[in-house]
């Protein structure tokens, strides 16, 4: 369970979201819908603990098991000469810590994630030499292998073509339906893919406010929040 109680989030003196109260139970697929600059990324970063709330309290289970995270902007420093395989293997850190080597089952999981996201031909390539879409899929694979219970994805398909986007949504739906994982995903609009995925609720983010609603009650635009 993730719980936000009267949370105000922002940067310095600029408040982005005010008095957000939200409860997210385990095992749901919850898209955060809103226009650019509405505060979706800020809310997700607040839930992840990357920014501290200016007011209020956020309770998460991430102390015990870190979230699997796919950032909107590429957070990996492209100067470091690391392969796709090495970037994806970062997701093992909560299990391996400082010194442990990946076990056979970790290696199998890694290969499986690469295979499912069609990254196997790129596995030995340098991350910095990849296209935007392949970089994004690499970060999705890193989140998948982390063994997290909660996946937080900030527009994870913004640079993917239609086929790859469908594949990613398929995996996300599987995580929720088969493995009872929680998926929180920021998206600028409510497209057919989100409508057809494993979700019954959405979270509208706009004008500094956040509102959870049934997907059928959504009137078609985030403006319906006001």
């Amino acid at each position: 369970m993730i719980r936000c109680q009267n949370v105000t989030l922002g940067y310095g003196r600029d408040m982005v979201l005010e008095n957000v109260t939200l409860e997210i139970p385990r095992g749901v697929f919850l898209p955060f819908i809103g226009p650019n600059g509405a505060g979706k990324t800020t809310l997700l970063r607040g839930i992840l603990g990357l920014i501290k709330p200016l007011k209020g309290k956020i309770e998460t289970p991430f102390q015990a098991l870190p979230a699997g995270y796919v950032p909107q902007h590429k957070s990996v420093d492209p100067l470091f000469p690391l392969t796709v395989r090495e970037i994806v293997a970062m997701g093992f850190y909560p299990r391996l810590g400082w010194w442990k080597k990946p076990r056979a089952q970790d290696k199998k999981l890694l290969e499986q994630a690469l295979e499912e996201l069609k990254l196997t031909p790129h596995a030995h390539k340098n991350y910095r030499d990849l296209s935007g879409g392949t970089k994004q899929k690499t970060l999705v694979a890193r989140a998948f292998v982390s063994g997290a219970d909660v996946f937080i994805m900030d527009e994870p398909t913004s640079e993917l073509d239609e086929t790859s986007e469908k594949e990613v949504f398929h995996h996300l739906a599987e995580l929720v339906l088969k493995h009872q994982k929680t998926v929180l995903m920021a998206h600028h609009g409510l497209n057919q893919l989100i409508r057809s995925s494993a979700t019954s609720e959405i979270c509208l983010v706009n004008h500094g406010r956040v509102k959870k609603m049934k997907i059928q009650d959504f009137k078609g635009s985030p403006e319906s929040l006001s």
Binding site: L48, I87, G91, Y93, L96, W98, W99
Partner: protein
Amino acid sequence: MTGFFLALREMVKAFPTAMGAGILIAVCCSFLGTLVVLKRLVFIGATLSQTAACGIAAAFFYHLHPFLGAVVFNLAAVTLLALSTEEERVPRDAVMAMVFILTSSLSVLLVSKTAEGLDEVHSLLYGDLIITSSADLHVLLWVLVPLTVLVLLFFRPLLYTFVDRDEAKILGIRVRFWELFFYYILGIVVSGASKVAGMLLVFCYLVIPAMTALMVSNRLRDAIAISILLAVFSTLFGFYFSYVHDFPTNQVIAVTSCLMLGVVLAGKRIFGSLASIFFSVSR
């Protein structure tokens, strides 16, 4: 080639401490240098080298051990660096520039009031590996080796912190701690090395071999190995050339390192042009 190895053998017999110190500094600084270059900390490397020189000048002034002066000054500089967080309006580079200007001027002022005078300034800036004492080598062994081993031991959290700070935080890595850990280790290593090799050569070891290695390698592990090999090679060649032709060793090492970088840069350019001509012709 045989002459090169024979001369090196003679040098090992004649200057065992100097060669030991040179190779030790080359290995440790070029290893740390790979992270310095990748993390875009080159200016911090230059500032720490300069701050160490200033600390050594202050130690001369107060009749203290030079290493102590260098460490105190560098730890103070690193603490200042740590306090200037990225969220502040003054960028970290600007703070480092201030420290660089202050310590550059202060070291000249301090040395001008010591008995040694300008010769000492020269020694501080350029150093002289050949006159390394066995006491210096002991300090290097006790400081550089354990600290470099520490970085190797904790390479994974350090690397993840540098590669992807947000993800590292989410994975439970204490990114601020590991950043400080690296900065303090870098500060102490630079302090120890600067007393023996001088700030210019230490700065050279931190930057040039790593830059050259990163130009030729696409893998981090390979880049680190190549960086170390290049630093050791330029050190051995520096000793050989300065011994045979009577040149100052430190400068020969620095020039050799830069020449190797120049050759690699030129080689890449020429190879790139030839490849593009070949492909355009074959179409």
